[in-house]
């Protein structure tokens, strides 16, 4: 062993080689649909108090990863560990106990809150399944505490979703997710449906809650400006696999994967007149996950691709050029011709 002392901080969430395949449908009466492997071997770790952003375009599998974590869909392969528990290896009652640690915040606060429930009922509902979290007598006060925590007026506890604005609804959703005192929130596009001026309010709220409660976030987004602001680490997905992951700053300032570079360069700057770099405009669209390209999944759209890329799929690795950078600033990339060769 080398002389470095590894601080044994255990991840809250440890995903290894996750595979999720949506089965196809038979074709007796309807047209047969092929099975789709939406997530094809993804490994991720999230540590206490940190934000990992999962970015990528539609169809890349990022939402499927989120749904697998919170148990909304069945996994096909690999393991998901929350704390010390392997969710796949446990029976129903045990998984329910562990799932409490991981709660989800959805994109659209208009469709994900039951319109017939008051904020109080929405926030207390999780305690029906996990009654030991808060004693029944303490629940009214706990609802009010949670409302105040997310910046809502506790006296509005008996209002219905339609009486709240979009930003306030997202706050109710966050309060509901916090009701079970989780360690990890899976946030699937939590601000995408909100107006610009409201987005900033919710982003600040998430940062405040992380500081106060030591929460970890899996933050799924397609908006790279938001990701850059809020996340500590980033994983970029393309067609069911991770193309590149690493600390946010490293990834944004020196992307190694051509796809990461193209994604970053597609962000429209607010001040193009100060921009000096040229823009990468990728040809074509993302291929269908039902029929991914052979070799590197990105190669048909990549300007650096050659026969190697068409023939063999690159694995996620740390580049040699990065071996001198400190371990906590290193990124990993799955590319045969990474961009570090040009720097």
């Amino acid at each position: 062993m080398t002389g470095t002392v590894s601080v044994a901080v255990k991840p809250i969430l440890d995903i290894r080689d996750l595979v999720v395949t949506y089965p196809g449908r038979g074709g007796v009466l309807s047209r047969p649909t092929p099975s789709v492997t939406a997530v094809a071997g993804v490994s991720l770790q999230i540590f206490p108090g940190e934000t990992l952003a999962l970015v990528g375009e539609s169809g890349c599998g990022k939402t499927t990863v989120a749904r697998a974590i919170v148990g909304l869909i069945k996994t096909t392969g690999g393991s998901i560990r929350v704390g010390d528990a392997d969710l796949g290896a446990m029976d129903g009652a045990a998984t329910t106990r562990w799932r409490r640690q991981v709660q989800m915040v959805f994109q659209d606060p208009y469709s994900s809150l039951d319109p017939r429930m008051t904020a109080r009922r929405l926030i207390s509902e999780p305690w029906d399944i996990h009654p030991d979290v808060v004693a029944a007598a303490d629940r009214p006060a706990e609802v009010e505490r949670l409302l105040a925590l997310v910046g809502l007026d506790p006296s509005h506890a008996d209002r219905f979703p339609h009486q709240f604005s979009g930003g306030q609804r997202q706050r109710v959703m966050i309060a509901r997710a916090l009701a079970l005192r989780p360690q990890l929130l899976v946030c699937d596009e939590p601000v995408s449906a909100l107006d610009v001026s409201i987005q900033a309010q919710i982003i600040n709220l998430l940062s405040d809650l992380q500081r106060q409660l030591g929460l970890a976030y899996l933050f799924i987004s397609h908006d790279l400006s938001v990701v850059r602001h809020i996340s500590h680490r980033v994983a970029v997905m393309y067609l069911g696999r991770i193309a590149e992951d690493g600390p946010t700053r490293t990834l944004f300032e020196a992307p190694d994967h051509p796809y990461t570079a193209a994604l970053l360069s597609a962000v429209l700057p607010m001040t193009p007149w100060t921009q000096t770099s040229t823009r990468i405009v990728l040809a074509g669209d993302v291929a269908s996950p039902a029929d991914p390209p052979i070799g590197c999944r990105f190669h048909p759209r990549c300007w650096r691709a050659d026969e190697l890329c068409a023939g063999s799929e690159p694995v996620l690795r740390t580049l040699e050029s990065r071996s001198s950078t400190p371990a906590d600033a290193r990124s990993r990339v799955a590319c045969h011709h990474p961009l570090d060769q040009e720097r």
Binding site: E57, S58, S165, G166, G167, Q168, D195, V196, S197, I198, Q199, A200, Q201, I203, N204, S207, H222, D223, L224, S225, V226, R228, H229, I230, T248, R249, A262, L263, S265, A266, V267, L268, P269, M270, T271, P272, W273, Q275, T278, R279, I280, V281, L282, A283, G284, D285, V286, A287, S288, P300, R301, C302, W303, A305
Partner: protein, 351 residues
């Protein structure tokens, strides 16, 4: 799902709208004066757009920026008379060259739409007919407006699809919309829009439903087509970056009214209205990672509740009693730059 095995050359095109020659302001392509759109709801009428005036030069471009409920889409629809009806009342004036569009009969507007003004929308899937071949939908424009035969129209449609950079247009013309990807569908909409060489294209959130790399392709296409044709553009969006990529001028809407209007760069760098300043500051792209974002407190006003003073006053950090009582009128703070704020002053005096 389309899949085009074409390698992109790594991208050389610099970002930014093409600079168009700007003729004098005395001869604008489109002149909008005191436009007002009211929807007659069951209880109180909702005034979605109130007292909006602006001009667009030939070949010019303007972004109408605003959040949901700011009236930006109602404004866009009113420009081409699409929100007509018994419950909608449009007042004021929209002049295209010498042609007044407000109050014009539906049949007359149909001749103008497509031929002189075209519009594309956010969601191309819901604006294309799902049971009709894409080529026929593009060809329809030519049979309806130019009286071409079916065969001629089909040829013209293939040419137009090629101009929208749809690969293999002859084959794709016989496909149905569901066989196209989101980006390709928006190219079809753009093909239909540019088919007759309109003087003005109104694009309402043209890239909001698209992935970022596809958004970059559509932005590129719009820039190239405008450079080729000299077509003027009105972009309706909430995206400050998209506006910066496509427009020369910007008009910021708030609560159905014009908050600010001016050349894009000047407005972004020296915003005269506190709402514009708040919007620019709260965008995460301007911020230091991990820091708190500056926020605009509260939420946008509901348009069915008529306020007396400035619609932004309840959220404004600088509001004084005057703002709550009296609606501010647009005032010039620099040449071509106006802000509807009591506290806005000329740039020389500082702000």
């Amino acid at each position: 799902m389309t899949f085009i095995p074409v390698r992109s050359p790594g991208g050389e095109a610099p970002l930014g709208a093409p600079t168009q020659p700007r003729p004098g302001p005395l001869d604008p392509l489109l002149r909008v004066e005191h436009l007002r759109v009211a929807y007659d709801a069951t209880t109180t009428p909702v005034v979605a757009v109130d007292d909006v005036s602006f001009e667009i030069a030939r070949g010019g471009s303007m972004a109408i920026l605003g959040e949901s409920g700011s009236g930006k889409t109602s404004l866009g629809l009113a420009l081409i008379g699409l929100n007509q009806g018994r419950t909608t009342k449009v007042d004021g004036s929209v002049r295209l060259d010498d042609l007044e569009l407000v109050g014009r009969r539906r049949e007359e507007l149909e001749d103008i739409r497509g031929a002189r003004i075209a519009m594309i929308f956010q969601d191309p899937l819901s604006t294309l007919n799902p049971v009709k071949r894409v080529g026929d939908q593009v060809a329809e424009t030519f049979t309806r407006h130019r009286g071409l035969s079916a065969r001629q129209a089909r040829e013209a449609a293939v040419d137009t699809m090629a101009r929208a950079r749809i690969p293999d247009p002859r084959r794709r013309a016989s496909d149905y919309p569901h066989q196209f990807s989101g980006g390709m569908r928006q190219r079809v909409m753009i093909a239909i829009a540019i088919a007759l060489g309109p003087q003005l294209l109104i694009a309402d959130e043209p890239t909001t439903a698209l992935d970022v790399t596809v958004q970059a392709q559509i932005v590129q296409l719009l820039i190239e087509i405008r450079a080729e044709t000299g077509m003027a553009l009105i972009l309706i969006s909430h995206d400050l970056g998209l506006a910066a990529a496509l427009a020369d001028d910007v008009l910021v809407m708030y609560g159905g009214r014009m908050a600010e209007k001016g050349p894009l760069r000047t407005t972004y760098e020296h915003a005269g209205h506190p709402y514009t300043r708040g919007l620019l500051a709260s965008a995460p792209r301007n911020s230091v990672a991990g820091s708190r974002l500056p926020v605009i407190p509260g939420s946008p006003p509901r348009l069915d509740q008529v306020a007396r003073g400035c619609p932004f006053a309840p959220r404004c950090p600088d509001a004084i009693d005057l703002c709550r009582d009296v609606m501010p009128l647009p005032r010039t703070i620099a040449p071509g730059h106006v802000a509807a704020c009591h506290l806005a002053s000329g740039r020389e005096e500082g702000r």
